[in-house]
Each structure stands twice: as structure tokens, then as C-alpha cells.
């Protein structure tokens, strides 16, 4: 990135494109430059204010009063531009409208609600791992485990019909691309938007969803009047948009981490109760959700600069999660670290409402692997999958030797 001389008010300016393929392939050097340039950096290409340090990212995430979401959490400013789909009632909403849908999802996806799924998901993970290992020691961990496991358990938990589940990943991929600029990644997804949106919309209807599951729970909340019946389908849609791709990439991240850090895999095998810590450390280290935008509701003072009212703020969650001002040896994947306080799930009222679902999926899969697999090692060149918002793998060839 080229950082030009500070402007009159001392604000560093950069012409970098965080959504270029070069940065998407390896964002780490760009993030370091961004953090070192200052707590706030103006990205003139997109007319946005970038935060790369943990302190400012964390502060912006929790301050919904000054950094709103209802103008969109992507580059597009809903004050002036029409969203590509009806805005989310949770992700793209501010209090007070945000309150009721969020409250319902918090309950439906809360740790207590997930207890009934725990045993089943642990059993499902063991079956999947046995099947994969039986087919051979060498395989691609992305489709075989990271995609297969969430697709095996999550749509069932929501109550989706069996048919059409292959649409979930492409829909999510496009939704997360659409938070970025209208670049080639968005163009590549556009031809299927109408078809995928129609399919997702159809799955949100009460009569399509199973009588038990997260979807039915959301409709039951509408029957109690906690949300309106008009809101229920859009609240279900949030599960389908944000509940699959993110988890897939989180699992890919932790599988890549243990494949390339054999000492950490040994540690996890010795202490399987570290499975949740391992997953959160991977979420910190790789940040499956790299960025989100906010919009300033007023002229906001940040570290001696002013973000003008109505301007977009680009929060680099991934950069904050590797900010050496916050983390010792930030580039190391280390199960001895306490990753608590990372912003990979966000923070504040918009913090990932499905984080407990993701942790349960990861715990089930990692525990099953730790019981059965002695060593995990790379078995060929890896390949990234580029997305404007997500840090993703297309392929992680691995060799797993049974215990």
C-alpha cells in the first residue's frame, strides 16, 4: 500500500484496495501497514475510514450509538443506495428495531438451547470422521470435513428440507461478497442471485420448516408476539445467510492451523478439553470474517481524528486480532494463549449470535478427530478461496494417520 503524507489534520491516506486479489490472497502484510500507519487511515479509493488496531476496532464495535449498522455493514451506504436484498433485521439494524429480533435469536441459539443438540452433534462428528478416515488417510479437509460437518448438522438443526441444501454455500458466499465493492467477485455471483435468493426465501416459510428446530422456534416466538409474523421469515433468513459459510471457514481455519502446527495438535490430543480454546484461537488467528463496515451517526472523534457524520468506517477484525499492541506473538497459533477478547465474532450488541453454535460444531469435530487421529500433516499445495469479507480455503490437502 502507498501511504501518502498525512493531510492537514494529520490523517494518513492510503490508495490501497483491501478487496484486491493480492490482499485477499494474503492480507497480513497489508494489515501490518495499516496498523502502523495510524489508528485511523483514510482509504481514498473508497472514501472510507479504516480502523486496523484492536483498540479502535473494539471501541467501534461496541459503540452502536455512534457507529450504526442500519446504513449497511458493507461498503454500500443504505442512506443513498438501494440494498441488493431486504436488509437483515439484526445485522443491518439499529436499536430500537434491532432489539426484538436479536432477543429472539439470542434465546433460540443460546448455550442453554444448544444443550439438547450436544450429544447428537458429538455422535454425528464421530460418524463423519470414521467415514472420512475409512476412505483413506489423504483427503481434502475443506470438502471432507469443514464443509461436510456443518452441512450435516446445521440445516437439520434449523429444520430445512433435504432438497436444495447445496444452495446454502453459494448464497452465503455471495452475501459476504456483496459487503465489499462491486468487483469481479460480486459480478461472478450476480447471475445466480435471483435463483438463490428465491430458494432461500422459500425455506423461511413456516410450512417448509420442520416442526422442531431453530426455524420453528423463531416462528413460535412470532406466535407469542415477541416478533411479528412479518419479521419471522427474515429472522430465519439470517440463519441461512450467516450460519453456514462462516462456520465452514472457521473449521477450515482450525484444521489448517493444527495441520501446520503439529505441536499444537499434540497438545490438543493430550488435552481434548482445549477444543473450544483451539477453535477460538483459530478464529482470532485467521478471522473467518475479516471486515465489517459501520456508518458514523455524528462527527465522531477517534484518536485525535474526526470521522465525519454519514461516512463509512471499515473495521479490520482480522487486523485487530493480530495487533501486536494487544496480543503477544500475534502471528502464532498457540493453544497456551487465552484468545478471549478477540473480535473475530465481533463485540457488543451485534456480536455473532450464532457463536455458541459454531463453538459446539467445532468442539464436536475436533474432539472426534483428537480421539482418532495421531498426526495431521499437509499433503499438497493449499488453495485460497477469495471472498470480499471472508477468509476462506478452497482446498487443504491433508494426511491424517490414525491413533
Amino acid at each position: 500500500m502507498t501511504t501518502t503524507a498525512p493531510t492537514a489534520i494529520g490523517l494518513p491516506v492510503s490508495d490501497a484496495d483491501p478487496f484486491s486479489h493480492e490482499v485477499l490472497e494474503d492480507p497480513t502484510p497489508f494489515h501490518a501497514q495499516l496498523r502502523d500507519a495510524g489508528p485511523v487511515v483514510y482509504l481514498d479509493r473508497y472514501d472510507v475510514y479504516a480502523f486496523g488496531r484492536h483498540e479502535q476496532v473494539h471501541a467501534a464495535l461496541v459503540d452502536w450509538q455512534q457507529f450504526q449498522s442500519a446504513a449497511g455493514v458493507g461498503l454500500s451506504n443504505f442512506r443513498y443506495e438501494k440494498p441488493w436484498r431486504p436488509p437483515s433485521l439484526v445485522l443491518e439494524a439499529d436499536p430500537p428495531r434491532h432489539d426484538a429480533p436479536r432477543r429472539v435469536l439470542t434465546k433460540v441459539l443460546g448455550p442453554r438451547a444448544l444443550r439438547r443438540l450436544h450429544e447428537q452433534w458429538v455422535a454425528d462428528a464421530e460418524v463423519l470422521v470414521d467415514q472420512v478416515l475409512a476412505a483413506g488417510a489423504e483427503f481434502d479437509a475443506v470438502p471432507a470435513l469443514a464443509e461436510a460437518f456443518p452441512l450435516r448438522v446445521f440445516p437439520d438443526a434449523v429444520g430445512l428440507p433435504a432438497q436444495g441444501r447445496e444452495n446454502l454455500l453459494p448464497y452465503g458466499d455471495h452475501a459476504f461478497n456483496a459487503f465489499g465493492p462491486p468487483n469481479d467477485l460480486v459480478a461472478r455471483g450476480n447471475p445466480r442471485v435471483a435463483e438463490l435468493s428465491a430458494w432461500v426465501g422459500a425455506q423461511c416459510a413456516r410450512e417448509v420448516l420442520a416442526p422442531q428446530g431453530f426455524g420453528a422456534d423463531i416462528w413460535a416466538a412470532a406466535d407469542r408476539g415477541d416478533i411479528t409474523h412479518e419479521q419471522a421469515p427474515l429472522v430465519v433468513r439470517s440463519l441461512l445467510t450467516a450460519g453456514v459459510d462462516t462456520t465452514v471457514h472457521g473449521l477450515s481455519a482450525v484444521l489448517y492451523a493444527v495441520a501446520t502446527n503439529p505441536d499444537q495438535w499434540r497438545r490438543l490430543r493430550a488435552q481434548p478439553e482445549l477444543a473450544r480454546v483451539a477453535f477460538d484461537e483459530a478464529v482470532r488467528w485467521e478471522s473467518p470474517v475479516q471486515t465489517f463496515f459501520r456508518t458514523a451517526t455524528t462527527d465522531v472523534a477517534v484518536a485525535g481524528h474526526v470521522v465525519p457524520e454519514g461516512k463509512k468506517i471499515l473495521m479490520f477484525l482480522a487486523s485487530a486480532n493480530r495487533d501486536p499492541r494487544r496480543w503477544a506473538d500475534p502471528d502464532a497459533f498457540d493453544l497456551g494463549r487465552d484468545p478471549s477478547g478477540h473480535v473475530g465474532f465481533g463485540m457488543g450488541i451485534h456480536q455473532c449470535v450464532g457463536q455458541h453454535v459454531a463453538r459446539l460444531e467445532a468442539e464436536a469435530l475436533l474432539t472426534a478427530l483428537a480421539r482418532r487421529v495421531a498426526t495431521i500433516e499437509p499433503a499438497g499445495p493449499t488453495k485460497r478461496h477469495h471472498n470480499n469479507t471472508l477468509r476462506a480455503w478452497e482446498s487443504i490437502p491433508v494426511r491424517m494417520l490414525p491413533a
Partner: protein, 329 residues
């Protein structure tokens, strides 16, 4: 009186060393027998977020814990406001606030929690009796902000004892003030009118008013009426403000939790990592199973039934009512 028993559990010098503490920044008399208390974090930072209808548990220097509805402005992230009615026949919480609590004092804080949330609707009918106006104030502000059709019927013994009339005056004809000594008991049937869908009725006040609202709404569609009744939460034992012991059964360790650290910090100090995130009792990441002992819940997540079950706690904020807690760690 119960006061003597309760006092014996208070730490010497009150709770000034506890971790979850707020400072009283103002105390204002707003009506006969009603004060508002403004609270802020000792470091002036953001307080945990809340929604209209939420309440906090405040623990005072005399060891009493009481629940109060938040009645301030949620857009002011650094301040909570509660309204407190002096109840001479009460068990000592309100008289402590009225007679002893002063700006500069520290109080223990739990929550905020919301058992009385404002749900989306086209129209709202609010009914307040006396100090029951407090949770409705932020609801009204919100209904107004959303452009909803709303009206308030506000009753009290006499005008001088009814708080916040000045703040409500700005809403004009949407607010009906009905002091009992001027107009008699609240006329709920007239105010509510015929049953209809799409309207939510919110009522907070003394038990007879809630009963009257329930009777009047009997023919309304299900879930039309939402009420809040503050029953004095009878905990088996008052929250401890003295050190307590936590046994980590799976790791076979014991750790003493002193008033200046959280259970999460104490457990980490003993070498047992528990994942956490918000450290405010709102996200749920640090949920920990309780095997024995009675938690002092201070989170924003568990409802009353879940609290009563006592089988789990959020150790970033919650503490102990018993001298020993056994956790599945």
C-alpha cells in the same frame, strides 16, 4: 426486623472492593417520596447495553439487594438512571436509598436483565400505577421514536407523588394523568376500549392494578397484555461480599475468590483457562456448569427459572451466595 440478620452478611466497610460496582453520580428528588439515582462506572466507561423494560440488581452497603427498572436514556452509554419510591413499610432498600445513599457512594450491580421487553407492534397502550411508571418511560420514548400509535394512562395517589410528570408533559394528549384524589381509580375499560389485534398493552404498578388489567384484557387476543410485577426476590442466602471458595472438580483445584476479582480471573489464576468474550455477562461464552453451591447471578442472560435452577453461571460477572461453589472445570 430482618435488617439485623441481613446486616450480619455485609462485609466490613460495605462492598467498596467488589469488581462489579457503579458510582452514584446524582440523587434527585423528583416527587413526594420519589428520588432518581444516577449511576456511572467508576472509570466513566461504557455500561452494559440495555433495552426498555430492563432492570438492574443493586446491592447497597448494608448488604441489601433490590431490583430497579432502568428509566434513563440508552443513547447515553455511560449513565443509568433508576427511580426509587420510599416505602416506609418496606424491608429497608428504599429507606436506605432515600436516607443514606449519596453521590460518590459505590453500589454493587447485577444485570441489566429484561423480563419485560417492548415487542414490535403498531400501537401500544401503557398503564402505570405510581412508581410503575419507571420501566414505561423508556418504552414510551421508544414508541415515540418509532412513530407508533401510543397512549399512556398514569395513576397515582395524588399529583405531588407522581414522578416524571414534567418529562411526560412534552407528549401532550397521548398522556392521561389520573391522580386518585382527583379522579378516583383508573378507568381501564374506557382507556383500553374494545379488544383488537395488533395492539400491545403494557402495565406496571401495584398488584391490584395488574389484576384489574388482566381482568379487563381477558377478552383480548392472547399475548396482548404484558405486565411486570416486582416480587421481592427471596434468595436463600444474600449475596456474599466476602471471599468465597471455588472448587474446580475436574481439575481437582480450589481457589479463593476475593471481592476484588471475578470468578473468571480467579479460575484463570489457578491455571484453568475458560473462554470468555464480552466480560459483561451478555454474550454467554463463559457459561460454566455449577455442581454444588448457589450462584449469585449477575448476568443479563438467564431468566428467572434458569436462575432458580442454579445449574450454570456466567463466571465473568456472577459470584456466590454460598461460601463454597463447585464448578465443572
Amino acid at each position: 426486623m430482618h435488617e439485623t440478620t441481613e446486616r450480619t452478611h455485609a462485609a466490613p466497610g460495605g462492598m467498596a472492593t467488589d469488581v462489579a460496582m457503579l458510582r452514584v453520580t446524582a440523587k434527585t428528588r423528583v416527587a413526594a417520596g420519589v428520588v432518581t439515582v444516577q449511576l456511572a462506572a467508576p472509570d466513566g466507561g461504557r455500561l452494559p447495553d440495555w433495552t426498555p423494560g430492563a432492570h438492574v440488581d443493586l446491592t447497597f452497603g448494608n448488604g441489601l439487594t433490590r431490583q430497579y427498572s432502568l428509566c434513563g436514556d440508552r443513547w447515553d452509554a455511560g449513565t443509568y438512571r433508576v427511580g426509587v419510591l420510599l416505602e416506609p413499610a418496606g424491608r429497608g432498600g428504599s429507606s436506605y436509598v432515600h436516607e443514606q445513599l449519596e453521590p460518590g457512594h459505590l453500589v454493587g450491580i447485577g444485570g441489566p436483565r429484561n423480563n419485560f421487553p417492548l415487542v414490535p407492534a403498531d400501537a401500544y397502550l401503557f398503564i402505570a400505577g405510581g412508581i410503575g411508571i419507571t420501566p414505561l418511560l423508556p418504552m414510551i420514548a421508544q414508541a415515540q421514536l418509532l412513530g407508533a400509535d401510543w397512549r399512556l394512562l398514569y395513576g397515582g395517589r395524588q399529583r405531588s407523588s407522581m414522578a416524571f410528570l414534567d418529562e411526560l408533559a412534552g407528549y401532550g394528549e397521548r398522556v392521561q394523568v389520573a391522580p386518585q384524589d382527583e379522579v378516583g381509580l383508573l378507568d381501564l375499560p374506557t382507556f383500553l376500549g374494545r379488544p383488537r389485534a395488533g395492539v400491545r398493552v403494557y402495565c406496571c404498578g401495584p398488584a391490584p392494578l395488574l389484576a384489574a388489567a388482566e381482568a379487563t384484557c381477558a377478552d383480548w387476543p392472547p399475548h396482548s397484555l404484558r405486565t411486570e410485577r416486582f416480587v421481592a426476590a427471596e434468595q436463600g442466602a444474600p449475596a456474599l461480599s466476602t471471599p468465597f471458595e471455588v472448587e474446580l472438580r475436574r481439575s481437582g483445584r480450589r481457589v479463593t475468590v476475593t471481592p476484588d476479582v471475578s470468578v473468571l480471573q480467579a479460575v484463570a489464576g489457578a491455571g484453568v483457562d475458560v473462554l470468555s468474550s464480552c466480560r459483561q455477562g451478555t454474550c454467554g461464552t463463559c457459561e460454566t456448569a455449577v455442581l454444588d453451591g448457589r450462584p449469585d447471578h449477575r448476568d443479563s442472560l438467564l431468566d428467572d427459572d434458569e436462575r432458580a435452577a442454579g445449574d450454570c453461571m456466567y463466571i465473568c460477572v456472577s459470584r456466590s451466595c454460598t461460601e463454597r461453589l463447585v464448578l465443572d472445570l
